[in-house]
Symmetry: C2
Subunit: 544 residues, 2 copies
């Protein structure tokens, strides 16, 4: 292949920004102020970093971990490692210590590049990191830290005396791994996947299409989704290829920080999980910011409740729902209305728009029912979503058994239970393990959650499968109310609301009120934590 075809290399995405968009900006928010440079500067700093990686003695194919926020330095790592045939492993900064240790050891990272404020976390796990030979602290030039990490390097020192040009390989075999990422496992240890040059380039082209993320040089992107989270959904690559301005929110961004960045940098597009947009909504509604530049918000990671989409759209900000996963680089489905569905009344339009959407070009999908055959395209019959295609990974990194289980027949078995309608819109009913099996029948917790979140007093809601002595499992609603609301009478209101839409056996037997729904490391509702706390609610209730 390699001596016959011109390969797909991440390098060419970077070269395009250097050659055509050297004046366009990359902006990073830091607590002390905004850092601003151009794609021309990015290219020169990537060259310096490539020289520094050589000096550290890193060989082809070797891995380096990043433990960092969304910053220009993290972006430099996104290019310097793949473009020199090494691999960047973006470590999730929010996972438990034992998972950090597991993922770094499993990836065999030789160095860890760590943001200054995250150094204390790495200090706590460093004794258990088996392959790391050195730590590179990412901090402003000249800044020194008190730390027990050793050997210790400073990112800006490493770059200082390096040349601003670099002889990248003329071609890289496109099957070469470029980045790696671990799933944020809800059960067991995280599993790793490798992303190749070929896969990244194809995914970049595909998500940039008008009916996907619609990436143009004219756009300004606020990259809210973390760079450690599945290639930041591909945005750092798509922005660079198309010359779009990138705005990186830096360490610990608050909703107010995001609102200010949208206003000050005239952000046109942004992407992230629903919980971020829930939080930002208060800032929008405060009226303190001019967010009129914002043309579209892409929401993924979990399904946005319709009430959230409506709230944004009442402020003139359309939301587009997309779906993906670590195993798919990650974008698989995007929910845009087909032209002829735009004539439907808004009510009907939302029925499609809250779904996960239409399959991206070049991917193949099957929805396989319990019988083993594909389900009807009726929007009702449930089946597991299976995927294959140019940016669906072939297995887990150094996990033969798990690979066989999930990818054994050439299809990636997502574990997501979905319906597909006559128009081809796919909707997740649930994770196979989040479905509630009551008396042998399935209940979709997601549909109940979305319905509950439409209640005006409800801030967030999750429905879990709680063990039940008679029905095996029964739904239990866990609800966080908006500030100033009290549980008084709410349980009844919620149950009445649900009773109008769902069969009576779907209704949660009880509602528990919590201060806040716990979140996973990537900002999704943490059902596992709630199951730990409330999984025996009906058993205890009976015993009590």
């Amino acid at each position: 292949m390699f001596d016959y075809e011109f390969p797909l290399n991440i390098n060419d995405l970077l070269y395009r920004a250097r050659d055509l968009f050297s004046r366009k900006e990359v902006v990073t928010r830091f607590p002390g102020g905004v850092h601003r440079y151009t794609y021309g500067d990015l290219y020169r700093r990537v060259c310096r970093l490539a020289h520094a990686l050589d000096r550290l003695g890193l060989k082809k194919g070797e891995r380096v971990g990043s433990f960092a926020w969304n910053t220009h330095r993290h972006l430099e790592l996104y290019y310097a490692l793949p473009c020199t045939e090494r691999v960047l492993h973006t470590v999730n900064i929010r996972i438990p210590h034992e998972h950090i240790v597991h993922t770094v050891n499993k990836a065999r990272d030789r160095f860890l590049f760590v943001d200054e404020d995250l150094v204390p976390i790495i200090e706590r796990v460093k004794e258990r990191l088996e392959t790391v030979e050195g730590y590179v602290v990412m901090a402003p030039p000249g800044k020194r830290l008190q730390t027990s990490l050793s050997p210790l390097y400073y990112y800006e020192d490493l770059l200082e005396d390096q040349g601003e040009d670099y002889s990248f390989p003329e071609f890289i075999d496109e099957r070469t791994p470029a980045l790696m990422c671990f799933t944020s496992a809800t059960t067991g240890l995280p599993k790793g996947v490798e992303y190749t040059h070929r896969g990244v380039v194809l995914h970049t082209l595909a998500i940039s299409l008008p009916d996907a993320a619609n990436m143009s040089e004219r756009n300004t992107l606020l990259l809210v989704v973390p760079m450690f989270h599945v290639l930041c959904w591909g945005y750092p690559f798509a922005c660079t290829m198309t010359g779009a301005k990138q705005v990186l929110p830096g360490p610990q961004p608050t909703p107010a920080d995001l609102a200010r960045l949208i206003q000050d940098e005239k952000v046109t597009h942004t992407a992230g999980v629903p919980t971020v947009w829930l939080a930002l909504l208060e800032e929008i509604e405060s009226g303190k910011y001019d967010l009129s530049s914002l043309k579209e918000v892409l929401v993924g990671g979990s399904a946005p409740p319709r009430s959230l989409m409506e709230a944004y759209e009442s402020h003139g900000i359309p939301m587009v729902h997309a779906y993906g996963m670590t195993e798919a680089y990650p974008v698989v489905l995007v929910s845009r209305l087909k032209s002829y569905l735009m004539d439907l009344p808004p009510e009907e339009q939302y029925r499609f728009r809250v779904k996960q959407g239409l399959l991206m070009p070049l991917l193949r999908a099957k929805v396989v029912g319990e019988s083993g055959r594909e389900v009807a395209h009726d929007g009702r019959e449930l089946g597991e979503l299976w995927l294959r295609g140019p940016w669906i990974v072939k297995g887990y990194y150094r996990e033969e058994e798990k690979t066989r289980e999930t990818f054994g027949d050439g299809w990636y078995h997502t574990g997501d239970v979905v319906t597909i309608d006559q128009e081809g819109y796919i909707q997740i009913a649930d994770r196979t393990k989040d479905l509630i099996k009551s008396g042998g029948e399935w209940i979709s917790s997601v549909e109940l959650e979305n319905a509950i979140m439409a209640h005006p007093a409800v801030k967030e809601a999750v429905v879990i499968a709680a063990r039940h002595p008679k029905w095996d499992e029964r739904p239990l609603a866990c609800v966080a109310l908006k500030e100033g609301e009290t549980p008084q009478g709410k349980k009844e209101e919620i149950r009445e609301m649900l009773a109008r839409r769902f069969p009576s056996w779907w209704l949660p037997d009880d509602v528990v009120f919590v201060d806040e729904i716990p979140k996973t490391s990537v900002g999704k509702f943490d059902k596992k934590a709630l199951r730990r706390e409330f999984g025996d609610h009906y058993v205890r209730a009976r015993e009590g």
Copy 2:
């Protein structure tokens, strides 16, 4: 590669239309009326055709020629051959007979699929076609022709009793040839190139990007560029992948036919060569049609004069200039303004917009001066454009020597002489063979032509290199005036106009007036024909 990576197959573009856009339309204009069906119908007819190809005994890798207009049947051939691992050779219907014979023999086409009205042309060359074993006439069901072609098949008969489903190969090695096309040679015989599944899929993704052809399901495309002309610039694939409605203008479309299709089918986007848009302008200016649906016209094949762009934009129809060639599937450059250039005064904007534009993602380009090194990015220094990338072909089909000459060092030497400016916009000064070399210095005929075409009385203009006893070559302007205009005084006006912009030694020594500028088979100005007629103008003038 094949057992490791999920391949890029044209099949998946078709499957997407079948699965997601089965209700969207493909419309063909025939003289007797409009033919209308859906992508669902297209898929079923492609299946029938695939069965028919099996029955004709066509094996993997074998070639079939098409000799046809832009119709739904031609579109069916675009899919049925590649998706069954055969190759479609789109024969140019407008080239000289000897070129038809050469290309069909060179491609070794086993069958020729011929539109009914083009049968007489094939009858005249059939004795010289060495490999063709049968002719398939594309005509309405039941229609019979008087023809000497034999053995003779009718397309609709072949499809009639076939099944509407077909077992396409699960995967095709992506390097497999899918289509082929010959250059419309201005000198010598046409040269063939092969297009692979991989190349077509990558080119389809790339041209569909927002900053290229901006292909969305919401678009309705009028495919004016002929389907025999470099994959119809990729539109049939991009439309099918994205679910855009396609409007095919059928046999011998007049400018009035195009205007009516735009109006009746609510066309939003179209693409073709400048001469088509020149001709359509009169229809637009007649005010007889409601063309308000039209959002953008893509113009390529040769550079649109600025006056043409202005004329369209005065009617609210933006024109986008793009550039490509047979050897590049074909799109290489697209000229859209960068966001920060949109603040320039319109005058300055046109300076960029009339250029051929910015390099597409994933391609690499060099502009190599006479010294053999790359030219300065100053918009002035001239050099030859060299290209390489995933959809630049590696050579000519069964032409070892020509391949070595043009592709020998791994770069495709385009033969186009260009400048590149600081922003990266590339502008064609000329074909190397169209440059005028006067007293050892180069003169760009294209720049002179565009300037002449800004004269209000001028319809079309070409500047050729005419032999000159003293200067070797001198520019000669060949001008066609608009209806009702007379040459009286025009020569002087044109020379005065040019004198304001160009050095005196650039000015054509003479202007000849012709009724019409001859066109090549793909609608470009035919400089070769003019050189034949007027190449000795200065020699004769001197002798006379």
